[in-house]
């Protein structure tokens, strides 16, 4: 009996690799489609709550997943607030108090500015293809598209607070359709749907994302209003003095 099961699994696994369905390469391809290019973008975030909805506009300078600056440009009350991720450090600057505060990096996994997006989502997350172990599961349909289902379990050295992330990758164009983030108790804490992809500046980008939490009772929509490559962006840009002097 035991051998029969082993044989059966071996058959499945070999079958998968025969099809060239290596999860790492699928994820690499999917991730290539976003984020890893030095860029400047303007983003709009709308968070829907049972009692209210709130609209924020951001400006974002991003070098890669580890270096990123976000400045809030609207609403007026919060405009000028700056968040920066530089390596593993996280800072925030408020023009009202003219102080830079270093935030604990555990905050990366917490809700950002009252939205369902986490710091991680806004300031660049760990790489799914590099920082996780992968397990390919049977394909499923997500948002009416047939998708690969890959369970990503973080490597011990990866600094994320999740238990695992389920990634759903569109079979046709190889882009991410949905990410489901589970906590250590096995509960779904965040779901990210990639609703729309566009080719801007020659790069295919997700331009409309939807973050849902608390079983869909609240959600946040993130839209990229404009995006452009910024090849001249260097790591040296991501300093505390830049945070204070971003300019208009």
């Amino acid at each position: 009996m035991f051998f029969r099961i082993v044989f059966f699994f071996t058959l499945i696994l070999s079958n998968l690799s025969l099809n060239g369905q290596d999860p790492v390469s699928i994820l690499q391809k999917a991730e290539k489609a976003s984020q890893q290019i030095p860029s400047y973008s303007e983003i709009e975030i709308i968070s829907e709550r049972p009692r209210y909805s709130r609209k924020i506009k951001l400006r974002n300078w991003s070098l890669n997943n580890n270096y990123s600056i976000v400045e809030i440009s609207s609403p007026k009350r919060d405009s000028g607030m700056v968040y920066m991720k530089a390596g593993k450090k996280l800072f925030t600057y408020s023009p009202k108090t003219d102080r830079i505060i270093k935030l604990p990096s555990s905050m990366l996994a917490q809700g950002w500015m009252g939205t369902d997006a986490q710091f991680d989502n806004i300031l660049g997350a760990a790489s799914l293809s590099k920082d996780f172990n992968h397990e390919l599961k049977l394909p499923v349909d997500v948002n009416n598209e047939s998708c690969h289902f890959i369970r990503c379990v973080p490597l011990p050295e990866t600094t994320v607070a999740h238990d695992h992330i389920d990634a759903f990758i569109n079979k046709q164009n190889g882009t991410i359709s949905r990410l489901e983030v589970y906590n250590k108790k096995g509960a779904l804490i965040q779901q990210i749907d990639f609703l729309e992809y566009k080719i801007i500046d020659g790069i295919q980008l997700p331009v409309s994302l939807k973050f849902s939490a608390k079983k869909g009772t609240q959600n946040t929509e993130l839209k990229i209003l404009s995006w452009k490559k910024k090849p001249d962006l260097k790591q040296a840009f991501f300093t505390e003095s830049t945070m204070k002097n971003l300019g208009p």
Binding site: S47, R49, R51, Y52, R54, I56, P75, R77, D78, M81, S94, K96, T97, R99, I101, M113, G114, T115
Partner: protein, 405 residues
């Protein structure tokens, strides 16, 4: 004046020592009852006042989901018209909107979590806040920055003094940031060590600005004239003066543990009073038995002369009533003056007892209550006892025969 009244009045003066002894027993009983109860109820009032009156309100109106999390996102929109109707209600002493939330306050290297509270000083009981101001002023001359009054222990913890700048950072209204520079304008002694460690008071408008909750009330505190009726008044008002989406609660509903503590403790006091009254009753009964046997011959003679027994009985009851009244007046004067004196100069506990009280959350003083209902209740009880024991001589009157002796 009727015959029995005249006779009763004269009888009181006939044996002054006897009247004085009976009267002083009454006075003594009442004095003890009043001071004991004033102390006990006074401590409860003090407890409730520090924990409820100034901070969370005898009656509180807030969003139905506001308790117990007290999330600033659940603030209610300002409604000046509704507030005006409340203020014009003759059962309500004051109406004070509040807005509060949590923030991290930091100064130099020290930082501390604080609960900030927006307080409209113009609507508040000025004496309440003036008494609590330890240093600084309520009218700082600041142009741009937000003044803040810190609980004195919070100020010590942050190591700040008047005029120092602190940074506040916390959750604001509906996802915005509560982030600004605050200037320390004063420190407050709030009578509750836990509050003093955590409270940061802002002006109401500043609190709205600080949190971004423009035009919002976090909760509305209502102080009724009759504080002890908060519970019934709260449900009464909630149907009379509805506010959309808001619910009313009295402090008993929000802090049932405090209410229960008071009830349990109060029962102990009632037992002590019961013992006191039992002892006093037997003392009074003794004087009454003495009175009856002393005056037996007098009664017999009067009956022989043709005075009706009922007139004599009435006379005795009136005598007892007078003695009770005089004794009560003396007892009230003594008891009330002691309570009043100690209310002005409340005894302060020291040592471990004081520490225990502070840890439980209130200033270690014992201010007696000045509630007149204590006086009236116990005067009534004492006079009833006097009338009850005077039934003994009344019985004697009916039992004495006219021809014996």
């Amino acid at each position: 004046m009727s015959l029995s009244l005249t006779m009763a009045w004269r009888n009181l003066g006939r044996n002054r020592r006897r009247s004085a002894i009976t009267g002083s027993a009454v006075a003594f009983a009442l004095f003890f009852a009043i001071s004991l109860r004033s102390f006990q109820l006074g401590i409860y009032e003090h407890m409730v006042d520090t924990l409820v009156g100034g901070i969370s309100g005898y009656i509180q109106v807030s969003d139905s989901a506001y308790w117990p999390a007290q999330n600033i996102d659940l603030a209610i929109p300002e409604n000046p018209q509704w507030k005006k109707t409340l203020e014009n209600d003759n059962r309500i002493k004051s109406v004070r909107p509040r807005l509060s939330g949590f923030a991290l306050l930091s100064s130099q290297k020290e930082s501390s979590v604080a609960r900030w509270m927006g307080v409209d000083f113009e609507l508040e009981d000025t004496a309440f806040w003036k008494n609590r101001l330890r240093s600084g002023t309520f009218n700082p001359s600041l142009k741009k920055n937000i003044p803040v009054w810190l609980g004195k222990r919070l100020a010590e913890g942050l190591n700040v003094d008047i005029g120092d700048t602190i940074v506040g950072l916390g959750q604001g209204y509906h996802g915005s940031m509560a982030n600004d520079l605050l200037i320390v304008a004063g420190t407050l002694a709030l009578g509750n060590p836990e509050l003093e460690k955590r409270a940061a008071v802002l002006k109401f408008k500043d609190a709205q600005e600080f949190s971004g909750a423009y035009g919002m009330w976090g909760s509305v505190l209502i102080t009724p004239y009759e504080k002890e009726k908060s519970l019934s008044l709260s449900s009464q008002l909630s149907s009379e003066l509805k506010l959309e989406g808001a619910s009313w609660s009295s402090w008993e509903e929000r802090m049932p543990e405090l209410k229960q503590l008071i009830q349990a403790d109060s029962a102990g006091g009632v037992i002590v009073l019961f013992i006191l009254y039992t002892v006093i009753s037997f003392g009074l009964l003794g004087t009454m038995i003495m009175l009856a046997s002393e005056r037996r011959r007098e009664f017999t003679m009067q009956i022989a002369l043709g005075v009706k027994r009922s007139i004599l009985a009435k006379m005795i009851l009136i005598e007892a009533f007078f003695v009770g009244i005089f004794g009560s007046i003396v007892g009230i004067i003594l008891g009330r003056s002691l309570a009043y004196y100690l209310h002005l100069n409340p005894p302060r506990l020291i040592g471990d007892a004081a520490l225990a009280m502070e840890n439980m959350g209130w200033e270690p003083i014992l201010p007696p209550s000045l509630d007149w209902s204590i006086t009236f209740t116990h005067t009534a009880i004492v006079i009833c006892i006097v009338l009850l024991v005077s039934l003994w001589p009344v019985l004697t009157v009916y039992k004495s025969s006219a021809i014996n002796r």
